[in-house]
């Protein structure tokens, strides 16, 4: 329907111009003609004023003389307007140019797929929000009424809810309350830092920086702490420092984790500014390459000295140990992937598929951008082909 209306509008725009071609091609007002009309009007105006007694006979005579002088001065200008073929062609071109150009522009800049949604038509959403706001208010009142000042977890929950509702300053306040509680750990401080930074539209205030430092102090491996510290360095003009910090943290990561993508993106933004080497996620997330922190060099050398049977036995014992461990800790995603890979190498297709499917189930709960998804999918499809 939207296209129909737009076509109608475009046709209307053209029609304005096409109508010109139907109209008369003469009847223009020449400058001399227009001026004379005004001067003649003025003459009759003067005599009307004289009759009404507004101006004296003397004044009327002077004014009339002045006007007549101006009338005589006219008549020097003469043009004979006409309409030609050239004009008609130009109008046709213009009438086509307008809708075509507008359509080209709109094709590039418009968003025809986005429907308009009036606020009044969003009752369900609004109800839901009202319910959340209501719960939030009750939670806040409860925490404030608590003689002990409210539980740490309560303030954290309140902060998260405020953040989701877009009440940034309130979120920061709630996290700040949480940070004053006993047992506030690194995560609390990094959440506080994040809320403060968001509330200030990305600017890292001294207060936020104190929270960052506290988060790092309590847990130097908290990625959020490192990330915001790097942002702080970047904002202070120490881009290289920020970049190094991000890369170092990526290098010391054990496994892939979703935060690494954010680190890589930020590090590359800074790298472009300071002229450092751009990095890619694959350098730090081993799963991307299909490998795993497997046997060490010594292991491999030791295995190399064994006979074929001994080797086979050794590998199978390692795999069995891994399988046993995973039976007890079934949530180890990377473990399942390693197991799948091992079975694949051993050509145990069914068991490899089993392990990868376990991994796939666990992947449900991760980011859609997680590179392990692709790795698992690829392995499964390879196994399926065999």
């Amino acid at each position: 329907m939207i296209w129909g209306v737009m076509i109608a509008m475009a046709v209307a725009a053209s029609a304005f111009l096409f109508v010109l071609l139907l109209g008369k091609s003469d009847g223009s007002v020449s400058p001399a003609h227009a001026t004379l009309a005004i001067l003649n009007d003025q003459l009759s105006e003067v005599s009307r004023d004289e009759k009404r007694g507004l101006i004296s006979a003397n004044e009327a005579r002077a004014a009339s003389q002045e006007i007549k002088r101006r009338i005589l001065a006219q008549g020097r200008y003469h043009t004979v307007p006409q309409s030609g073929k050239f004009g008609n062609i130009a109008i046709v071109i213009a009438a086509l140019f307008v809708p075509i150009s507008a359509a080209t522009y709109y094709n590039y800049a418009g968003s025809p797929d986005i429907a308009s949604v009036a606020f009044a038509d969003r009752q369900e959403e609004i109800e839901e929000r009202r319910r959340i706001e209501d719960l939030t208010r009750r939670l806040a009142e409860q925490l404030l009424a608590d003689p002990n000042g409210g539980a740490l977890e309560g303030w954290m929950l309140l902060g998260q809810t405020y953040a989701r509702l877009g009440r940034r300053a309130d979120a920061a306040d709630a996290y700040e309350q949480a940070s004053l509680k006993e047992g506030a750990d690194s995560v609390v401080y990094s959440m506080l830092a994040e809320a403060l930074i968001v509330a200030e539209q990305g600017v890292i205030t001294p207060k936020a920086e104190r929270a960052i430092d506290q988060a790092i102090l309590l847990d130097p491996r908290n990625p959020a702490g490192t990330y915001y510290k790097a942002l702080a360095f970047h904002q202070n003009g120490q881009g290289k420092m920020a970049y190094d910090m991000l890369v170092e943290r990526l290098e010391t990561a054990d496994d892939f984790a979703p935060w690494m993508e954010t680190f890589v993106v930020r590090a590359n933004i800074i790298a472009a500014e300071v002229g450092a080497e751009p990095i890619s996620l694959a350098q730090f997330a081993p799963m991307m390459a299909g490998g795993a922190p497997g046997p060490t060099r010594e292991d491999v050398e030791a295995v190399g000295e064994m006979s074929a049977d001994e080797q086979n036995e050794f590998i199978r014992s390692m795999v069995a140990r891994l399988a046993d461990r995973l039976a007890e800790e079934p949530d180890d995603l990377d473990g399942w992937m390693r197991l799948g890979n091992a079975y694949k190498v051993l050509n145990e297709v069914d068991q490899a598929i089993d392990a990868y499917e376990k991994a796939q189930d666990l992947l449900e709960g991760t980011s859609s951008q997680d590179p392990r998804r692709a790795a698992v999918a690829q392995a499964l499809s390879e196994l399926g082909d065999q």
Binding site: P31, A34, N58, R167
Partner: protein, 666 residues
Amino acid sequence: MLPELGHFSLALALFLALVQSILPLIGANRGDVRLMRSAEVTAYAQVVFVGFAFAALLNAFITSDFTVLNVTNNSNSLKPMIFKIAATWGSHEGSLLLWVFILTIFGAGVAIFGSNLPTSLRARTLSVQAWISVGFLSFMLLTSNPFDRIFPPPLDGDDLNPLLQDIGLAMHPPLLYFGYVGFSIVFSFAAAALIEGRVDAAWARWVRPWTLAAWVSLTAGIALGSWWAYYELGWGGWWFWDPVENVSFMPWLLGTALLHSAIVTEKRDAFKSWTILLAILTFSLSLLGTFIVRSGLLTSVHAFAVDPERGMYILGLLALSIGGSLTLYAWRAPAMVGGGLFKPVSREAGLLINNLILAAATGTVLFGTLYPLFLEAITGDKISVGPQFFNAAFIPMMLPLIFLMGLGPFLSWKRADLAGIVQRLKFVAGLTLIASLVIWYLYERGPVLAFVMLLLAVWLMFTTLHEWAMRIRLFESDLKTAWRRARNLPRAAYGMTTAHLGVALLMLGMIGSTVWKDEVIKFAEPGTTLEIGDFDVTFEGTDRVRGPNYFSERGILRVEMDGEYVTTLYPERRTYPVAQSTTTESAIRSTPAGDLYASISAPSLESAEAAGAWTLRILYEPLVILIWIGSFMLCFGGLLSLSDRRLRVGAPKKSKTLGSQAQAAE
């Protein structure tokens, strides 16, 4: 769907404007009637499509359609309807759309009412006007699209800057834009006349009403903005010489000059080239105003339009339009045929001096406004040019103008009799002196400049009234004749009298509210009584009030005079949770004698908050109401004059009748 149709509509309007900026010019050059006529149809088409786009945006604001980014950023579902509507032009993008909408309305106006204009002049004028349209529409579509979308929409919007949620300010931008854009039409006429190479009676007849309409809107816009600052910002001032105020004041000053010079062009066929130059410069200053406000070049109370990239685009437009038109002027203006001659003492000469003073005053304000910018650009030093500079440089320059304003209307066209006028005004001069001394005696203090200002304000008032009395022969014949003459007097004459009286009142208000102001700023606890003027103001405490999208702390101030209860003032400090900002709402008791003005600031110390102590700012500003009345009279006078559709010609009087009669048909 509507926002997308609005977007598409703007694109159609842009390309229609492009057509309009080329075809009619070719037509006028070749004498092709159809091509010249195309200016009219494209002008109509533009107003239809831009109007549709504006309606689409308005609808998005009214229904709170948060899929439109502009609505999300500037509105909120809880906002009162009137401010939802006003938010349409409260944002940068929306205000541009309003700008262009007004531009196209005026363009259609020229097309509709211009049937008695020479066809070629009308075509060229509309074509020049379409250049401006192209500039602004492309600026909007390329850098500031009001129809940018987001999906999924956020649950609610971020709200408009609460300072802007005010009825005075809701009307301020549209009026200001009517003024700016009105001058754009005059500019288009001027550029068309330069291309045409001649200025004739039809041209002059057309330029004056457009100038007048633009000037009235601009006056009203500036006055509203000033009124808003007075009661909303909580400082009790009505003019701060803030750069953003200055940039609207400069086109006003030059527009005032243009208004008077257009009268000479219309009546005496003189000052043609000068009128054209003024038209170009006035619109250039309007563009400069838009540029300075929209680029965020200046940091001031008007800090809500900050975007340097857009600034570069407007700077380009500015350079193109001002540079282009001035080049055109330098090339074509010498070919203009000069008009009526006049003697050094005459109405023309008076108006010429008026023009020179106004132009010099504009230059002064321009210098004071731009100097800090240039200094910062060149040396990196940040300075601000404050009221001291403007008061010292601008006010003394304007004083001779006020003197002339009183005198001017007595001068007749072409040649005037100075001796006769002096004879006539002896009485008024005496009256002025006595009245000023009486007022001075009543207040008994204030600097010399203020006294001179007062003297001139009173002078202007009496001369203006005297001139009117003389015209209707109030004291020279019986009352019946005077009444008949008063009724027959053209509305344009009343327009002038009203506007000039308005200036006199404006000056009195300015003097009263600055020189005789009484101000107390105090950190007060409940129960404290402050003395100000003749009033005793007792701070009784605060309470909390809830509004639709804000809550506020409201101070309660009991006002007494000589032990008698006068009124209670409730200044507020409002907090808007969504926009996360606070505003002050002053409480004002307004009487003709003066305003008692109170505002309340947040307690600065936590311990003080416990004690309920607040910073109170209380002012007594005598006669401040005259500023608003004077501004209103300026606008009303302009409208009166605008409503006068009479044709004008200014004829000199015959020498023998000099001094004995009112001057020729006004």
